[in-house]
């Protein structure tokens, strides 16, 4: 890995990954279970009307959403890790994903299943989950900051999970319960162009803010005193980055449901390839996240006759990669 990173400059790696992603997207259009499992011949697109409609109305919006989901989750993971100076956090660990799920369940139960309302409630509760984790970690007097933040995140996530459990118990088993259950598993099978268009106005500005502020992200990962002496306004800049990243995440998972582990492992892998400098790591990990989720989603919709929930696949692959990473990475956690 060391030699690899020494040979490949971040800029080259970026273009290599961008090219890889493009090829992956192109190929993914033809991956699926129509007309036969695994592969559709490109020629079919010229003659088969059903194939054309399938690709245009189902596969394309789904692919683009998978791409956006992967990019957003890794961007958010990178932001959370650097802003909290803790390489072991991701949206699923800090009450963000569970909070969003709870918000969506509340919406499904009482406010209807309009994507906009689900999105708004998911965002509100995701921010609430993050804020609660942060406040608890600040209040507690047990262990170091890194540990407290993770423990608080686990507690808040559990609280929201329990809340979702209660809502599931109250839900109409025929209409509302399946909707909520889909949420907890995570998946992109119902994504339409309309869903994609609804989330873009939140996701794109959020990602843009994070991308443009990626040099500041470096500053914020240093000691507060150092960051301040270098001109940062730590509280304000952290707040801005967190709101941008968490809103974008809540918006995409209002469509995809809870998809875990991507935001944790992909930034880790990216840092191993290019080092910590977010100027390079952020765009590279976003590309890697996009590729990872597109691959997982391809597997989810192709491997079995029935769909495998995406969240299960990312958790399976993500946790396995994480275990291997933790065996080989020397992490330095203090404070």
């Amino acid at each position: 890995m060391q030699n690899f990173s020494a040979r490949l400059s971040p800029v080259r790696l970026f273009w290599l990954l961008a090219f890889g992603l493009l090829v992956m997207l192109l190929l993914s259009v033809f991956v699926g279970r129509y007309p036969a499992p695994y592969w559709m011949s490109p020629g079919l697109l010229q003659e088969d009307v059903l194939a054309q409609r399938l690709v245009w109305s189902l596969r394309l919006p789904r692919l683009l959403t998978a791409l956006l989901l992967g990019m957003t989750l890794t961007a958010c993971g990178t932001v959370l890790q650097m802003v909290f100076r803790n390489p072991l956090v991701e949206p699923g660990f800090l009450g963000v994903s569970q909070g969003a799920a709870f918000g969506a369940a509340v919406s499904i139960l009482w406010l209807g299943t309009s994507p906009v309302i689900i999105e708004i409630l998911a965002t509100i509760f995701a921010l609430l989950g993050l804020a609660l984790s942060y406040v608890l970690a600040r209040q507690w007097r047990f262990g170091g900051w890194a540990l407290r933040l993770i423990l608080a995140g686990i507690a808040v996530s559990a609280l929201f999970s329990a809340g979702v459990g209660v809502l599931k118990y109250m839900a109409d088993p025929l209409t509302q319960l399946p909707e909520i259950t889909f949420w907890m598993l995570g998946g992109l099978w119902s994504v339409t162009w309309r869903d994609l268009l609804y989330i873009l106005p939140i996701v794109l500005p959020g990602l843009l803010v994070v991308y443009l502020m990626r040099w500041r992200l470096n500053l914020l990962s240093l000691n507060d005193e150092t960051a301040f002496s270098l001109g940062a306004a730590p509280a304000r800049e952290r707040g801005l980055l967190l709101v941008a990243a968490v809103s974008a995440t809540a918006a995409v998972i209002s469509v995809s449901g809870v998809v875990g582990w991507v935001g944790l492992i992909v930034p880790h892998l990216a840092r191993r390839l290019t080092g910590a400098n977010a100027r390079h790591t952020l765009p590279i990990s976003m590309l890697m996240g996009g590729i990872f989720v597109v691959i997982c989603d391809n597997l989810a919709r192709t491997l079995l006759p029935g769909e495998i929930p995406l969240g299960i696949l990312t958790s399976l692959l993500g946790s396995l990669i994480f275990i291997v990473l933790m065996m080989s990475v020397r992490l330095e956690l203090r404070r």
Partner: protein, 259 residues
């Protein structure tokens, strides 16, 4: 102090928990420009707090701070970070920035909010690394450096920041004798270039080796300030630390001893 003060502190009061227990208690002090000033004092005297107040990180609840004759509050965040730099005792980051990238971060005050470092910033970063003979370390992750190496790298970052005022909080506590020598030599070089340097230390010999001015602090107040040669006496140090201290002379330099 006769020279024009670059930093002037006027009846400062500061406390961490409301205005009851003052960590800085009616503190007034002038720092002459282009010199090295050492702050000595026992633990809890308020030395670090004083640096943080000068930096603008902490806001005093009474009193005024003037930097280059202007009230500190009149400077924006960016302007202030172009005036005052800081080197901590230790930097803890879990992320594997290379030494070069870390030093390059020192250029941030000279960048726009959303801009990236330019070729000029890269050049100044290389110069800062060369000044401290750290070129061989530049591709090493900072997480793999020794405490002493990190300290040198933090100074390089502050040099790249190019501020006229540099604050250092116990900068030599992790350094071995050779690094300490190089570190203090660099401070003298910077002062020769007109940079005003203020550092806190628990080691009087470090103050003697580098500083021309001395500030003695105890319980949030300045007991005395002035040229080091006049202040480094057994009487004044004993009053500062509250224990009997002797000052001997060796090759015409004061040596501080616990008696």
């Amino acid at each position: 102090m006769t020279e024009t003060p670059i930093i002037s502190l006027d009846h400062l009061r500061f406390s961490y928990d409301g205005p009851h227990v003052d960590v800085l208690n009616d503190l007034s002090l002038d720092i002459p420009a282009g010199t090295i000033t050492a702050i000595l004092g026992p633990n809890g005297a308020g030395k670090t707090t004083l640096l943080h107040v000068i930096l603008g990180l902490l806001q005093p609840h009474a009193g005024q701070i003037y930097i280059e004759g202007q009230p500190q509050a009149g400077y924006s965040r960016t302007e202030l970070s172009q005036k005052v730099g800081l080197v901590l005792q230790a930097e803890h980051t879990p992320f594997n920035f290379t030494v070069f990238e870390y030093v390059l971060l020192g250029r941030t005050p000279h960048l726009g909010m959303l801009s990236m470092p330019s070729n000029n910033d890269y050049r100044l970063t290389r110069q800062a690394l060369e000044a401290l003979e750290l070129e061989s370390l530049q591709q090493r992750p900072i997480t793999e450096l020794s405490g002493g190496e990190r300290q040198m790298v933090m100074l390089a970052r502050a040099i790249a920041q190019q501020t006229p005022i540099l604050l250092l909080d116990e900068p030599t506590s992790h350094l071995d004798l050779s690094n300490k020598g190089r570190f203090l030599q660099m401070l003298r070089t910077l002062a020769g270039q007109g940079v005003t340097i203020i550092f806190t230390t628990h080691e009087p010999e470090v103050a003697v080796a580098a500083a021309r001015y001395l500030v003695l602090m105890r319980a949030g107040q300045v007991l005395d300030s002035g040229p080091l040669t006049q202040l480094l006496t057994a009487e004044k140090l004993s009053a500062t630390y509250g224990v009997p201290i002797r000052v001997a002379r060796l090759e015409d330099r004061p040596v501080v001893l616990l008696s």
